[in-house]
Symmetry: C2
Subunit: 233 residues, 2 copies
DNA sequence: ATTGACATACATACGCGCCTGTATGTAAAT
DNA sequence: ATTTACATACAGGCGCGTATGTATGTCAAT
């Protein structure tokens, strides 16, 4: 009755990860007990403690299983494209959104990461991991936009870092809002148009760049003082 | 030593809310115990249970204190503007971001809402509340964009709902990413340019709108079949 | 203006369930 | 025979909800 071969052990490990994904999604990470997860996996807590040190390590393993492939994909998109990096960025961005719209696995994990998990001090590893992941992704996209500017696909006035921040925020915001309430709108339908809208905005960036100019006027007279609305108390 | 007048009671209520905000932020909502909150507030759990039914109600009250004013502000922006609704939307959007960049109070609450709180089944009220809030906000913005299209501030080809989804996602994504790691970029500096980028994208929306056209050709020969990506399941 | 009765605004104490971590048992694989 | 891959058993703590205690504020009646 009990299974013991190496591959069977790996199978139960995967089963536990599946169960964790399910229970984390239903109850939230903090409120999920290892007993529930074991029950969902058809084993006991003993099996979980054999494969993982504690809940945090289980969570990490569960995330890795899904996030690592996605990150690898993004990296490949970043390194390969020398021809038309803008199109590559566009496709990669839309691809993530459409992939999310289709894959229930991705949906669950994104929902856990965005809405069922507390980035708190005790499990700081989780938070650091997310930050690092974001930061890396951010860097990749920024490099892409830099290439776009260098090769003339975007105006010189575009700030690559800023463009990357906007793109990341738009995409992560879309995913977070959609998984929170999937019936509020169709991610599949709006993904490409919205990304295109943002990219068109980048292409039409004006050439002002007024910031670095120093001392345009020595002393500005207080002509029309705007009504200050501070004091939120 | 003990305080009993009405206003003193209200004061301790506020103190408890402050403490809850602090502890929720530090430990996460699920991991925060009422004992910790009471200790931070300089009282006992008895006081908390006097003012609030349980942790969920305490959380709700804490959020209300900050969110309600913001929502009220948004509503005012939505109803008032008949002249140039696009400018009003732009200002309101940027205002929320800049206000967030300045107000530590808002920052903490946003960080709690986005990263320190599990939208799980047991406290479904929290999730529903967030969804309702988002939905209302979404509707307000959508109405604004609709007015923009009607008054010619945006092309007819702009889909107001889609535009609102994008705006909401961009803003919430920006806030979520920034509060997660405030030193990764300056929200105050990039807020206005990024919003403007998105709005420029909307203004330059092409006039395709191919969807509503019916039966252009009776039977389309499969000349070049695009890879269909429907099937959201 | 006192006084008593009642409500208010908490503090304290208790019981309970749940969950965690570990220690131990055990049968099959190697 | 030893290790693997779990299942079972045990001890402990923590946090929640509630019940109860209590000192003060409030207010009407006198």
């Amino acid at each position: 009755m009990v299974r013991r071969t190496r591959e069977e052990a790996l199978a139960t490990r995967e089963t536990i990860l599946d169960a964790a994904e399910q229970v984390f999604h239903d109850k939230g990470v903090a409120h999920a007990s290892l007993e529930e997860i074991a029950q969902a996996a058809g084993c006991t807590r003993g099996a979980i403690y054999w494969h993982f040190k504690d809940k945090a390590e289980l969570f990490d393993a569960m995330m890795d299983r899904v996030v690592l492939p996605v990150e690898a994909m993004l990296d490949r998109a970043g390194e390969a494209g020398v021809t038309d990096p803008l199109a590559i960025l566009r496709l990669a961005t839309i691809d993530i959104l459409e992939r999310t719209a289709k894959d229930p696995h991705l949906q669950r994990v994104f929902e856990i990461a965005y809405h069922k998990c507390e980035y708190t001090g005790d499990a700081a590893g989780v938070r650091d991991r997310h930050i690092a992941s974001q930061s890396e992704c951010q860097g990749t996209i920024e490099a892409g936009f830099r290439a776009c500017v260098a090769q003339g696909y975007l105006p010189k006035s575009v700030n690559p870092k800023e463009a990357a921040i906007g793109a990341m925020s738009l995409v992560s915001g879309l995913i977070a809002n959609w998984v929170l309430d999937p019936k509020s709108f169709s991610l599949a339908k709006h993904a490409a148009p919205l990304v295109d809208t943002y990219f068109r905005g980048l292409q039409s960036t004006p050439v002002v760049k007024a910031a670095p100019v120093m001392k345009v006027v020595k002393a500005t007279p207080p002509a029309k003082v705007l009504p200050s609305r501070r004091k939120t108390a």
